[in-house]
């Protein structure tokens, strides 16, 4: 949703191959990745893309596999759009945008086979590794999913 006034301004910038934040058409925002900043997590990362900042932590646990995949580990993804990050986020259980975000991240990890779930079985039907991936938005502009 862009107002007509801003639209024509953005348009005039585009014609000069410029963008509102001073970048050229093919410039990425400044990317900063901080690996393992959280010592209580099994793995973590803090990623900043321009002003957008997220914190992701991974916790491992052992538990029972799902009956339809007795030899596979379990991936659980969650996303928090905490009120800390924006005046538009409200406290309480995850709303549809947070759930959408979590599911999109889940598919990204699962379908790319980034984690070999089939190698995370300890004892078939009884014990497998469970990977919890927790996403926390610290500040947001646009494009959280990509990041």
């Amino acid at each position: 949703m862009t107002m007509t006034l801003i639209k024509s301004y953005l348009d005039s910038l585009l014609k000069k191959k410029k963008r509102e934040d001073g970048r050229g058409l093919y410039d990425y925002r400044e990317l900063k990745i901080d690996v393992n900043p959280i010592d209580k997590a099994n793995g973590s990362a803090r990623v900043k893309l321009g002003d957008t900042a997220v914190l992701v932590g991974v916790k491992l646990d052992v538990g029972e596999p799902f009956p339809d995949s007795p030899n596979d580990g379990i991936l659980i993804t969650n996303a928090e759009l905490a009120p800390l990050a924006s005046a538009e986020f409200e406290p309480g259980p995850p709303r549809e945008d947070a759930i959408e975000l979590a599911r999109v991240i889940d598919r990204g990890i699962r379908e790319s086979k980034a984690i070999a779930l089939d190698k995370m079985c300890i004892k078939p039907k009884e014990k497998v590794w469970i990977v919890f991936v927790w996403h926390h938005t610290i500040n947001t502009r646009i494009g959280i999913v990509r990041e």
Partner: protein, 243 residues
């Protein structure tokens, strides 16, 4: 407090298990203005305890009937990210986080000139991103810096620290093993500018004499913490002014 299976001794050759003296704070780092979306924000690291705080407001009260025509209302929400503790903790509010939200709000309240902002709400959101004891104190100290960053008028900065008892001796700013297996833990919050104590809780056993000493020890440490808080605010607005 009083857990079983802790270390046999907490003080070896006059030093604590992490190498500190009894009246020594963990390394403290505070940065103001870390969340661009927020009206005010702060990041604080105290040893390996890390906290992010953002402040929104003064803004319109919702739901409207909670509006106070004479002053602002203060909201405070303390939350731990689920990977911030050794055991994964469930997201969402718990009885513990509800208590802590309440005591942090009450320790910040006396410092704020609420009557300057009638019909509004000031929201303080706290996320503990790594927990190693002293999270309510770290959160209070950081929240005070975030409120100052938001330009909320206050009569002083609220600084907070815990004093505990290990091996029969008082020790400042407990870390997790001392907190879990020590003999006492006294978190306090203090406005050093006006000499006001705004939080005092106690878990464990202390004699009344020990408690008095603990409070003095905590107040002294809060004066030092306030210096770090001021430095963080000066750095932030020094930067702003140069822009």
């Amino acid at each position: 407090m009083g857990g079983v299976g802790g270390p046999e001794k907490f003080i070896v050759n006059g030093k604590r298990l992490d190498g500190r003296k009894l009246d020594e704070l963990r390394p403290l780092m505070i940065k103001a203005g870390v969340i661009p979306n927020a009206d005010g924000s702060a990041y604080l690291k105290m040893g390996s305890t890390e906290v992010l705080v953002s402040v929104y407001g003064p803004r319109e009260v919702f739901p409207k009937h909670l509006t106070d025509p004479n002053k602002a209302i203060l909201g405070c929400l303390y939350d731990m990210v689920s990977f911030s503790t050794s055991d994964r903790n469930r997201p969402g509010p718990s009885r513990r986080s509800t208590e802590i939200s309440k005591v942090i709000r009450e320790s910040l309240l006396p410092a704020i000139f609420l009557e300057k902002y009638p019909r509004t709400k000031i929201d303080v959101y706290i996320e503990i991103i790594n927990a190693n004891a002293g999270t309510r104190c770290a959160a209070t100290t950081a929240a005070s810096v975030a409120l100052a960053d938001a330009g909320i008028e206050m009569k002083g900065l609220v600084s907070s620290v815990a004093v505990g008892k290990i091996d029969g001796k008082l020790a400042l700013d407990l870390f997790d093993a001392e907190d879990n297996f020590g003999q006492a833990d006294v978190p306090l919050a203090y406005i050093s500018r006006t000499d006001e104590l705004t939080l005092l809780q106690m878990d464990g056993d202390l004699t009344s004499d020990e408690l008095k000493k603990a409070i003095e020890m905590g107040k002294k440490a809060c004066v030092r913490i306030a210096e770090t808080q001021k430095a963080a605010i000066t750095e932030r607005f020094g930067k702003e002014a140069k822009k």
